[in-house]
Symmetry: C2
Subunit: 173 residues, 2 copies
Amino acid sequence: MKGIAFLLVAVAAVAGFVANSAPASGHADGEVASIFGIKIPPGYRDWRLISVAHEGGNLNDLRALLGNDVAIQAYREGKLPFPDGTIIARLAWSYVPSEENNKVFGRAQSFVAGDATNLQFMVKDSKKYAATGGWGFAQFKNGKPADEALLKTCFPCHEPIKVRDLVFTHYAP
Amino acid sequence: MKGIAFLLVAVAAVAGFVANSAPASGHADGEVASIFGIKIPPGYRDWRLISVAHEGGNLNDLRALLGNDVAIQAYREGKLPFPDGTIIARLAWSYVPSEENNKVFGRAQSFVAGDATNLQFMVKDSKKYAATGGWGFAQFKNGKPADEALLKTCFPCHEPIKVRDLVFTHYAP
């Protein structure tokens, strides 16, 4: 019994450590995603903004696209295709009406970011990911990578955007 | 005539210079805004993301809130009131349906950032701006500051959000 009690304390301590060491982003560090072998890039929440969007329908989210330095430079210089080393992060949060804002404004017009939904990355490596247009794709929910079936849907959806190297999002000035 | 031709070439050259020297942000460097004396902070477009939102109604924009280092640190540490030196930037773009995205997705659900509308800043200086809760307010459109009458509307609108030091936007994890 002493052994089990010790184990429980140890497990609680480890759980506490994991909870406390969560990054400022609120997204836990990820396991390796299947197929493309992509982990959550450290520090992605500090990356610079590419643009924002609202996806309605079933997704119904507000999203922000952030880019690492390679991505931001390529965007600003209009460099296509994106160079190897480009990583684009797509953060998304549920699309929530803000009662607090609407009360101040006197009308129902304000929608803000609620809970994080999931996190996606596009990683450019023209050799490693040659079969999918040079891009690896990843999705994480609460730090857990999406399964292979879902990740297989990324490339076919991005493929039509050949004119911008499979990237949907334009840079917002 | 030679004089006029020279002048036109000179004007074109200057126009070209101005176009080429526009910052990566797409927003020209600003004149001083009235009342609060705030200029567009250099490099604000490189600041880190606080959150995103959609304002409907007459505004009908997608917006991103970015913070300088002082702002981001205060947000992440939950530090209130925000310390002097905090600057929060609010970028906004027209809320535009994306035909390109909708075509790929097979449904009308995608709204993206169109042209930039205007640019706002909140600057914390508890002494300088003591009369307006410690915050100075600025708005710029195409690099031009908003007039005094408009800037006088900022503080009364922000004032009800006392619980978060007059700042509407929550940090998005």
